[in-house]
């Protein structure tokens, strides 16, 4: 710093340490609680140092879960969360890359219309369209049949070349339903668009002279150049997917599709009794672990992703 005042530096360190203590306290409490028995946590003050039942708690939660609430082992919930997080992250990246490529590298009729349609998704989070979206998930063909009705066709069947197709397909309680509707992404499309605009035009020209068509250019030049951006975005989107809450709450009723983040809610909200806190905290630690490890392990990519998606 500008002047050398040791006491200022000491104060800075002190403030940081106290701040970090406040920030870390919930994690500490959860970790400690997850190593005790339910009996240890019955009366205040609860212990602030580790107990000896950690292994038992984690084993129980991972293998059989909490019997009286749905009774799903956490392994299954963690697996569901992983599927959801990975599908959302990869799906968003793939369709945003191609969309951004089309918008940046081609001139075609309705280009700006497509851009604005994608832009609008920014303003329509799940929270503002809960019921109608549920309706669509319950039958994905709802928009189509309603439109057909408008044009005088009745019913939910169409006949094409003698084949009758029932327009009824539900995505409730499925991985498709958990992920597909969430992979549209204006943010990711904008991020890639922003990045593509910084790629020198001469590279495209050189590739054209070298005989590369659009898809070859996309695969050989643009994708490899986007590598760090893709990785950074992946970190952010993985966390986003893992932490989804309202969406799985809406479209899953079958316990075998419960994700870990929403599963904890059922363990906490037990009727007329105190939750089994030692097991709840075990579950909470397990639910936090994957995304927290991703953030800490890929700190540089994470920071990059965070900053870039906000541009």
């Amino acid at each position: 710093m500008v002047e050398n005042r040791p006491w200022l530096t000491v104060v800075s360190h002190l403030v940081l340490i106290v701040g970090i203590a406040i920030v870390v306290l919930p994690l500490w409490v959860a970790l400690v609680a997850s190593t005790h028995t339910g009996r240890d946590l019955l009366s205040a003050p609860i212990p602030m140092w580790f107990g000896s039942h950690g292994v038992d708690n984690y084993r129980q939660m991972l293998t059989s879960g909490m019997e009286h609430v749905s009774g799903q082992p956490l392994t299954l919930m963690l697996f569901n969360s992983l599927v959801m997080a990975l599908s959302i992250a990869i799906g968003k990246i793939v369709i945003s890359l191609t969309a951004a490529f089309a918008i940046c590298y081609f001139r075609f009729p309705l280009r700006m219309t497509c851009f604005w349609i994608i832009f609008i998704t920014l303003m329509l989070p799940v929270e503002v369209r809960i019921l109608p979206t549920y309706e669509v998930i319950a039958n994905v063909f709802t928009p189509l049949t309603r439109l057909l009705e408008l044009f005088g066709f009745e019913g939910d069947e169409i006949v094409i070349a003698g084949l009758s197709i029932r327009l009824d397909f539900s995505m409730l309680d499925s991985y498709t339903g958990l992920t597909l509707p969430l992979i549209a992404s204006a943010t990711a499309t904008f991020l890639f668009r922003q990045f593509f605009l910084t790629v020198p035009d001469e590279l495209t020209e050189a590739a054209r002279i070298d005989g590369a068509g659009p898809m070859k250019f996309f695969r050989d030049i643009l994708l490899p150049l986007s590598r760090t951006n893709i990785a950074a975005l992946f970190v952010i989107l993985f966390i986003y997917g893992w932490n989804q809450y309202l969406w799985p709450l809406l479209i899953t009723t079958d316990p075998s599709y419960v994700t870990v983040v929403m599963g904890i809610q059922r363990m906490v909200n037990v009727a007329d009794t105190e939750p089994q806190w030692h097991l709840v905290m075990t579950a909470a630690v397990l639910a936090m672990l994957p995304p927290v490890l991703v953030v800490i392990g890929m700190q540089r990519l994470f920071v990059k992703g965070l900053v870039e998606t906000e541009k």
């Binding site: 020198p200 001469e202 590279l203 020209e205 050189a206 590739a207 054209r208 002279i209 070298d210 005989g211 590369a212 070859k216 050989d220 030049i221 490899p224 150049l225 590598r227």
Partner: protein, 365 residues
């Protein structure tokens, strides 16, 4: 190998701006032609039209015996070296050089052979596994050249390829490119805004100004007989001196001012007396004179030592120079023993090296 024929080529942008006003140019097989001009003169646009990176508004471009107007860049059998090299940053030198061949489905061993050969010519042998960012500016430049020559195209197109290098390296690469082109004998079109680069490299050069080819010719033709004030001022360094003058009634002399007269060159004797002209004389053609009658009184204002010779800047009595010197005339003085600043010397111009231009149009008389 092929000749390049450009006939009546024009470029009009969608916004109505006309960048190229009908250019005709024949480049015989194996020639090194340089397009030179100030920025915005249309030289890069013309090059990019030859490459197929810009559409041609009217006229035709022919490479060999094919009209290529509608062909994709990849199908024109040309290779291009870009100003910023446009190397693919994520590919090794080898991959950069072979990418075009791979896209055209050449067999592996043929690619290997061509890349190795090009690497040998360009002294890139040890660098084939490096990435572009691990290379120096000069090495990147060579890789860009290598990418062009492995293709063995009909024509090379260069878009200001040396402008990102420092001055010393630029001179070195200038020589290398020229030698390489001689050796391969490939028709080349080279765009630059640097007239020294243009003069030293070109077999012939095209001086462009505001979308028009002002003059086409060998470096010496352009130096000796510039067709306009623009070409005269653009070619040669330091720049030509220009002064307004009128032809005297005797038809044999030019009057610069009341005190200053210059003898007309032989070819200028056809100029009718009384006509206002712009007279151009290069700094190296102004010499000390004892003849008080036909000489300029030149007052030295500033002296620049270049080593082998010296530049003198100064004003001539009541003569208003209109060239680059900001109202001052420039004289190239061989050696470095010059009169001190402030002194007045008398200068004469060799009539054989006087250039006369129409005062209104700037065209050579």
């Amino acid at each position: 190998m092929a000749e390049l024929r450009i006939s009546g080529v024009e470029k009009v942008y969608p916004n109505g701006f006309k960048a190229i006003h009908g250019i005709d140019l024949d480049v015989p097989d194996g020639e090194f032609i340089v397009l030179v001009g100030p920025s915005g003169c249309g030289k890069s646009t013309l090059l990019r039209m030859i490459a197929g990176l810009e559409t041609v508004s009217s006229g035709t471009i022919q490479i060999g015996d094919r009209v290529v107007n509608e062909l994709e860049p990849a199908d024109r059998d040309i290779a291009m070296v870009f100003q910023n090299y446009a190397l693919y940053p994520h590919m090794s030198v080898y991959q950069n050089m072979s990418y075009g061949l791979r896209n055209r489905g050449y067999p592996k061993d043929a690619i290997e052979e061509r890349v190795q050969k090009a690497a040998g010519i360009l002294q890139l042998d040890g660098l084939l596994d490096r990435r572009p960012r691990q290379l120096s500016g000069g090495q990147r430049q060579r890789v860009a050249m290598g990418r062009a020559i492995v293709r063995e195209p009909s024509a090379f197109l260069f878009d200001e390829p040396l402008s990102n290098l420092d001055a010393k390296l630029r001179v070195q690469m200038r020589v290398e490119i020229k030698q390489l082109q001689r050796r391969l004998g490939t028709t080349s079109v080279y765009v630059t805004h640097d007239q020294i680069e243009a003069m030293t490299m070109a077999d012939r050069l095209v001086v462009m100004n505001a979308g028009v080819a002002e003059q086409v010719g060998t470096p010496i033709e352009l130096y000796e007989r510039p067709s306009s004030v623009f070409v005269g001022g653009f070619i040669g360094s330091p720049s030509m001196n220009f002064m307004p003058a009128t032809v005297e009634p005797d038809g044999r002399h030019l009057r610069l001012s009341d005190e200053a007269r210059l003898a007309l060159p032989v070819e200028g004797r056809r100029v009718e007396p009384g006509r206002p002209v712009t007279v151009g004389v290069r700094p190296e053609h102004l010499t000390l004179s004892a003849d008080a009658d036909s000489a300029l009184a030149f007052k030295i204002v500033l002296i620049e030592h270049l080593g082998a010779d010296t530049l003198l800047y100064g004003s001539a009595s009541s003569v208003e120079a209109t060239g680059e010197g900001g109202g001052l005339l420039t004289v190239r003085w061989s050696g470095h023993h010059t009169p001190p600043a402030g002194e007045v010397i008398r200068l004469a111009a060799d009539p054989a090296h006087l250039h006369l231009f129409d005062a209104a149009t700037g065209r050579r008389i």
